[in-house]
Subunit: 140 residues, 2 copies
Amino acid sequence: MDDARVSGWDECLRAQGFRVTPQRHLVLQAVSTLQHATPEEIYGYIHERVGGLNLSTVYRTLEVLEKVGLITHTHIEHGSPTYHEVAQAVHVHLVCRICKNVDSIPAEAIAPLLEVLVDTRGFRADVGHLAIHGTCSACS
Amino acid sequence: MDDARVSGWDECLRAQGFRVTPQRHLVLQAVSTLQHATPEEIYGYIHERVGGLNLSTVYRTLEVLEKVGLITHTHIEHGSPTYHEVAQAVHVHLVCRICKNVDSIPAEAIAPLLEVLVDTRGFRADVGHLAIHGTCSACS
DNA sequence: CTGACTGCAAAAGGTTTGCAAAAAG
DNA sequence: CTTTTTGCAAACCTTTTGCAGTCAG
């Protein structure tokens, strides 16, 4: 609540013609708190603490929050996408194939890669959306 | 058929206790030909050329082929995973958020990144499984 | 007030599963 | 022959959609 990370979220919505509702506040808070949460997890989190929120509202809200640029999503594993706040430091996800753990590294760590992509292909990578699968140190 | 890329596939299956069936041959060929195909696309491709193959068989076959190491999958976009042959040169997928095009770059192009990950985190990235989302040169 | 948003229920994908028949080794 | 694999149909799960009532601005 009144987390520095989510301050200004309401203006951000209004500025783009969306309305500010308690549901949107709840979902944004949940995303901020949970980090890498799936729609289902977000729903569960809110539902057990506050109750009375519809799953389809979660989906629609995530869509809106992503559209206005407050959150993004990544595909960490087979199933559902996971959402996280844009305001939190941009980071790359390292997903271990074995223990399923998700580690994060700062975006700067892969700066050389980004340069290569832009230079050779003119491709501007969306870093926050990046999940690298592999084997973590503990499992290899 | 008798594609150099898929030679030895039958031994590969048998060596791990699986049986060699025409369905598995068809699916492997389709994966090899289509590149980055979803289960649905693989099914459609085979079904329209040969007919009489069940979708659930495609799913089960993809699972087996992946288990024995002949193919891998990546998550290129929201929905279904896409499969490709392991024998084909290992490459990284560049997925454009706007035009949805999938470009490929050789794995060596991101060697510096892999080193950074191993050195700083001991994380061994699975390159063939990597899809980088962003904006391609044409769309940016 | 008015249009955007929510909740509900039903539909729509996409993937998995149980079982009996067919095929591989 | 024995055991795996296939086809079929039904179950499942996640996500989307239509609609009427509700709420934000």
